[in-house]
């Protein structure tokens, strides 16, 4: 991957603007993101949020598609276990994405590029700090070339 080759220590030849796709559940984490906005917490514009009714709606297909289309990191944010609006959705999320997290790492995707976290509607600050944290790590790692679909122009 030519972009990665050019990432010589300390010198970025190409200005790296990461792309982070975040799947947020309508009842908790999306509301938490709203609160982050209302409270004017700031995090970089590289994060773009897709609303889903529950974190259990997020399929592995979506996560892999994001990586295929050039996303540098994917975040899934749901309600805290026990607080799911649909009672048990996030318990399934927890199991499914524990396996996917490990599987992606097994394929060679850095652990920092895929984050699952629990953010409640009252945790605007946590939302911003999670996003800032992910972006900081992704900046260090550089662009993601693994799983990328070369035919897709980003």
């Amino acid at each position: 991957m030519s972009i990665e080759d050019e990432k010589i220590e300390g010198i970025d030849k190409v200005k790296f603007e990461p792309l982070v796709v975040a799947f947020c559940c309508n009842w908790c984490s999306y509301a938490g993101a709203d609160l982050a906005g209302t409270s004017r917490f700031s995090y970089p514009a590289n994060v773009k949020i897709i609303r889903v009714p529950c974190s259990c709606r997020v399929s592995e297909n979506f996560v892999l598609r994001a990586f295929q289309r050039g996303a540098d990191a994917v975040v899934i944010a749901g309600c805290h276990p026990g607080d799911c609006h649909y009672t048990s959705g996030n318990y399934h999320t927890r199991r499914r994405f524990s396996i996917l997290t490990n599987l992606l790492e097994y394929m060679g995707i850095e652990q920092e590029r895929f984050k699952v976290d629990w953010i409640s509607a009252a945790e605007g600050h946590k939302f911003a700090s999670v996003m800032n944290d992910v972006l900081e790590k992704v900046h260090k790692l550089g662009p993601n070339g693994k799983l990328r679909d070369d035919r897709w122009i980003r």
Binding site: E60, N61, L64, R65, Q68, H80, P81, G82, S88, Y91, H92, R94, R95, R96, F97, S98, I99, L100, T101, N102, L103, L104, E105, Y106, M107, G108, I109, E110, K115, V116, D117, W118, K126, K146, L147, R148, D149, D150, R151
Partner: protein, 328 residues
């Protein structure tokens, strides 16, 4: 072995004669020493074509999906690993247990023809017999006795279910479950885990670049039995047919993920891959993680036990949050 072949033929003949089954699925011998392939018999006179030897590695349980649409009662010969796959098909409601008569065969391990060829033993080989832990290679000149451990499939060396877990009739006596080193079970997964991210990525990229999307792995897998596979469904717009790295990676990751918690570790996927991709390493990894995180689970063994993906416990741990999330 001969006694077993005889028993198989007698059983099949009787079952077809008295109408207990309309069709029998078993194995028959082909032209070469290693060609023992599935056969479908409806006529009791053809029962003598059935054989049992060290090359009957094909898991025939998947054929039942199609066969049961045409016949009301089918008899099938299943080894230990095959019977696990059979149970998984039942759990997925793909076959009706009441329409199948299962003839169980205990299997000491199947011989890998590649290993035989690597030793040059296939030259002039007339037949191969097994006696306990020894394999006898018979050519026109000489009979060579060698240890079976050197020639069995890797997956057979790790076999934990030589005896069928479900059956209506048994063709053989039960075999002793051999001592399998639990450390060895996930050794190849651990070897890969020990590499760095980039090394692993390069490894899989290399492996998947060999994939020709023949779908043999999917077709033989007992856990892959969807009426319309998502990879065949262009309307789902989930994957395409182009020969692009990303398409292969997507296919294998998703397929491994779909069978998570349902894979019976029969190892057929790796065996049938014409490109020799070690697919079982993906499925093994998932099984290792599931066992570690959510408790030991063996798919296909006990249909009353729920598969780990699709159920949950309130205090599940997870592999992603270090604080403020899942309790460890």
């Amino acid at each position: 072995m001969d006694k077993i072949t005889q028993k198989i033929r007698e059983t099949a003949k009787l079952a077809l004669e008295n109408g207990e089954v309309e069709k029998i699925i078993g194995w028959t011998k082909g032209d070469t020493f290693d060609d023992s392939h599935p056969v479908f018999i409806t006529d009791e006179d053809k029962a003598d074509s059935l054989i049992w030897d060290s090359f009957c590695v094909n898991n025939v349980s998947k054929y039942l999906i199609k066969e049961l649409k045409q016949s009301n009662k089918v008899g099938v010969f299943l080894k230990g690993c095959d019977s696990l796959g059979f149970n998984q098909l039942i759990v997925d409601n793909r076959i009706d247990r009441t329409k199948v008569v299962v003839y169980g065969i205990s299997c000491p391990g199947m011989i890998d023809p590649e290993k035989v060829k690597n030793e040059g033993l296939n030259k002039g080989l007339k037949s191969v017999k097994r006696s306990g832990d020894e394999i006898i290679f018979i050519t026109s000149e000489v009979e060579k006795k060698l240890s079976s451990k050197d020639f069995e499939f890797d997956k057979c060396l790790k076999c934990r279910h030589p005896n069928p877990v479900v059956y209506d009739q048994l063709m053989t006596d039960a075999l002793e479950e051999r001592e399998v080193d639990l450390e060895a079970r996930f050794k190849d997964v651990e070897d890969l885990e020990a590499l760095s991210n980039d090394e692993r990525s390069a490894y899989w990229k290399n492996q998947f670049s060999k994939c020709i999307r023949c779908n043999a792995c999917r077709n033989i897998c007992p856990a892959c039995s969807c009426v319309k596979c998502i990879f065949d469904n262009t309307k789902a717009e989930v994957s395409g047919k182009a020969k692009a790295d990303t398409e292969e990676q997507f296919y294998h990751i998703i397929r491994a993920y779909h069978v998570a918690g349902r894979c019976v570790e029969c190892g057929e996927c790796s065996r049938v891959c014409p490109a020799g991709i070690p697919l079982h390493k993906l499925n093994s990894k998932i099984i290792k993680d599931l066992n570690g995180l959510y408790g030991e689970h063996e798919a296909g063994l006990d249909s009353s036990v729920e598969a780990p993906i699709g159920m949950f416990k309130l205090d599940d741990c997870d592999s992603f949050s270090k604080q403020g999330g899942g309790k460890k």
